[in-house]
Amino acid sequence: MDLSQFLSFFNSGAFTDVIFKVAAIFIAIMYVLYSVIIAKQVRIMDKSLEASFNQFIFFVCSLQTTAALILLIFAIFIS
């Protein structure tokens, strides 16, 4: 890649696309980690307070983790 190609890469908007993609993937990975930590923590919370409603909470936590993984796939392939 010579200098003119390098400069045109910055001017074409491709550079901002790459930055956006890297940021989106990074945020998506952080969100996956967050959702997994919340799911684990809810298991600990369930031991502290056991109630029938907790099943619904587990369900929502698994939904959140699934959504986070879908977001990560979106960030990798769509953005």
């Binding site: 956006f20 919370m45 056991e50």
Partner: protein, 184 residues
Amino acid sequence: MENNNKSSNNVLFSYLDHPDIKFETYEPGEKIILLLRAHPFTQINWVFNSVLLLVFLLIMNPFIGNFFNQSQMFIVNVFSLAFIASYIWSSFLDWYFNVGIITNKRVIDIDFSGILYKEVTVARLDKVEDITIKSGGYFEALFDFGTIFIQTAGMESNIEFANVTRPSDAVKIINNLLGRRHGS
């Protein structure tokens, strides 16, 4: 998240008489008399913030649309909605799992601050020395909520139930239990 004046087994209430629950340090033969949570009105903060964030996202959409292409806008919106949903969810969990439990033997305060930090304080009823209710302000009077401080004797930790529903009824129940224990 409701406030109910009658006994109920709906675990989403903030004042539960004889709830159908168990807790970590449950002792065989122990009867759970009361479960207390913060009054739903005290949660209005995060509900308001969530609505504000949603409105902000709607308002900002046409402006940030100039900087991103269609697929990037989709990602930005989905991420923003995921962030707001996570904020709502963690705030709800914070409310739901921060409880005060009164049994026929003990008073237990389960606190999760920021979801990740857990603190469980337990005091035996025979160690309870003094109970104070702090309830001041228009909203506290209107919605009947306040903070209960339970002072204990010796090395046992003091307990605080913050912004709980119907604090005077809860204290009455504790006093009845204390009277029963001291009388027996």
